[in-house]
Amino acid sequence: MFTRLELHEALVARHGAENQARLESARVAVCGLGGLGSNVAIALARAGVGALHLFDFDCVELSNLNRQQYFPRQLGRPKTEALAETLSEIAPYCQISATTVRLTEENIPSLLAGFPIICEAFDRAEAKATLVNTVLTAFPDTWLVAGNGMAGLGEGNLIQTRQVGKRLILCGDGISGVESGAPLFSARVLLCAAHQALAILRLITQTNIN
């Protein structure tokens, strides 16, 4: 096993010292650990983000394995525990914490207080709207990176990143939801997750918001 310093030096060699210093002092909350959140968390952990806090209330199901970062041996376990286990194997020095809870308008102001960056990665449209509204209202300095529209097999280039207002970044095609019965495929969900992870890395490395 390599030491923390050895990993740090390897990442500095890849990413540059200034980027890595910012990444290692960053702290991100990932809300929802499905196709978006599990992939965003892994991308951030691999980049060397210092601390991740995972939120989800669900357990790993067979139907998740088409696009979510879980293994058959993890079926039935809370996604928070299963993903924390995987992340600690990928990035043993990332500080991972998790809360198994359904985030609501009532508990978001206390549970998400203090995170400079929050990733919205829920599946239901109402839950997405509630998180976005509550976070932007409750926390005047927090950046929120949300996923919106990645169902179906539409063209990949329709998945985009755009900033709305001062602190909201939206990733997705904005229109392709599961409501119409459209399926979710790993390739298109990953595109959206990659947009979200990249937006977060850009915030961490370019805006010095930690």
């Binding site: 929802g32 499905g34 196709g35 978006l36 959140g37 990665a121 829920f122 599946d123 239901r124 449209a125 109402e126 997405k128 709207a129 976005v132 509204n133 932007l136 209202t137 949300a146 996923g147 919106n148 529209g149 990645m150 169902a151 709305v164 207002g165 001062k166 909201l168 939206l170 904005g174 229109i175 392709s176 939801g177 599961v178 409501e179 459209a182 979710l184 969900v189």
Partner: protein, 64 residues
């Protein structure tokens, strides 16, 4: 005139909630920014749009 999602509409004087309902948005699935600031759910029915306002309505769809 009020600019909503980049297009101009003759809706000044209306509340945001009245506009959203007329435009067939589902109020449970939207986030609204008026002149760059979030408008909380509770304020949608009491905030009146004025000439020159710039509003963004984000309508969420499911999937993740």
């Amino acid at each position: 005139m009020v600019t909503i999602n980049g297009k101009q509409y003759e809706v000044s004087g209306k509340t945001i909630a009245a506009y959203l309902t007329e435009a067939k948005y589902d109020l449970q699935r939207v986030a609204v920014e008026l002149n760059g600031e979030i408008v909380s759910k509770g304020k949608l029915a009491e905030t009146i749009m004025q000439d020159g306002d710039v509003m963004e309505v984000v309508s969420f769809v499911g999937g993740g």
